[in-house]
Amino acid sequence: MKIRTNIVSSIEIISYYTGYVVLCTALLLIIPALTALIFMEWNAMLDFLISVAIATIVGIALAGIGWRTKQVKANIQWKHGFVIAALSWFVLMILCAIPYRLSGHIGSMLDACFDVMSGFTTTGLVLTQDLDHLSNALNMWRHMLTFIGGQGMVVLALTIIAKETSGAYRLYVGEAKDIELVPNVKGTTRIIWKISMIYLAVGTAALWIDGMVIGLKPVSAFLHALYIFESSWSTGGFAPMTQNMMYYHSLSYETITIVIFILGSFNFGLHYAMWQGKRNELVKNIETQSFFITSTIACMLAVYGLSKAHLYPNTISAFRRIIYNVLSAHTTTGFGSVYARQFALEWGDFGILIMVVVMLIGGSACSTAGGFKGLRVGIVFKGLIMDVKKLLCSERSRKAYKFHHIKDQILDDSVVKSSSLIIICYMALFGIGTMMGTFYGYPLASSAFEAASVTGNVGLSIGVTSPAMPAVMKIYYIIAMYMGRLEFLSVFALIGYVAGGIKKLCVKSLKLSLKIVS
């Protein structure tokens, strides 16, 4: 009997590429290990060396299960791409939590997984205790997670792949990106990293200089600049100190971070178009137009609403406390310039409502930002206008409606429908999160705020997220951050794939037991 060795099962394909993504990300654990070596943090160095070893073994094992994939050059289908993206994020969440757990700053493996998922999804909610006394190595790792998560682990792996993989585009789309800057995916991922690295150099330099001006020592200023840039650009929201942005007490530092996180929330396609010479893209693009309108209205409403409470006496304090937080929420960054409880106790229901809305809207598609994206808001709004115009026009007239997103695109019912479906999914996730918070006794406004922060991958907290939070809520928040970041399809594909596998197993066992009985 001839054995068909040229057919590779889906499990082998998924395992191989998941192992590859795990290996590429796990090798990055060497950077915090080197940081620990430089700063002579021996305990931290040991933690990271153990983590590198475990992650490398797991990555090699997974790739080994699917070794025939490379030999026969198996074709990756769409289902594989989505499942690989979702599965690799899940596996990496556990592996990257190991250094957290070993550090002693985190209460449980669940809390460690929470922080890692918060980093990967560029949310920024934190359960790590005693943040001010973390080792430089662990701080480096936390902020790296958020920087890598912003670009995407699959994007990182595709950048490193030696030659173009058939089906690479399917892997790329599985991580909720669909923009093609150049005709090949490897080129696109390299451009994404190039843009990020150039901004890393410029942004870190600006923050480093400003850090020294405000009084930080040179080495400390550099590390803070690097961490804050990584968090700003990836719209992550992690900060090296518990007080977040309040630690710096500096308008200039805050202003630089505003510029970085707004730019970080823009589509990589927009950056690329600008860098190709199409500078009017900044004004013509539907996402920048949408962001400009929604953020300006939100800022105006928030300032007007909170000025009536006389919380902030002058323009500069209003800019630093209100505008900063509204823009941080809208870009889903999560840097806070007020304490968590101040949102609940001082801002009132109107202020909280503005924040909830902007957190849900979020930033741009194919960027590091979360939320249901300005692009979808723009498309749904234009879709509504299109439907009204169709009603008012003669029945015999035929008109094509367009929107500009990098290039002119036709606005048809299928585009509006897919945008609306994703918005509905986000709202469902938000609704369930709010219900869960109220079920566990948190006030409605606080539950809604935290649920919006988690769903939109923002990271601002009103005080609900803490190590004392019920475990069920922590698990739900992990799932919500994960689904929100991967925009549902990959996670649904993974769930469907696993459910399908379990169903097949059950049917096989049932048939086997029936055969035995008969």
Binding site: L263, H271, A318, F319
Partner: protein, 34 residues
Amino acid sequence: MQRKTNQTKGLFSELLGTFIYTGFILIITAVIMR
């Protein structure tokens, strides 16, 4: 050479555009706070 020039100009345009937007928001805040 042209590509590098475009990239540099693009980078500065983005930074300038964002600074201008931030300044615009600051002005609006000042007007409302009056």
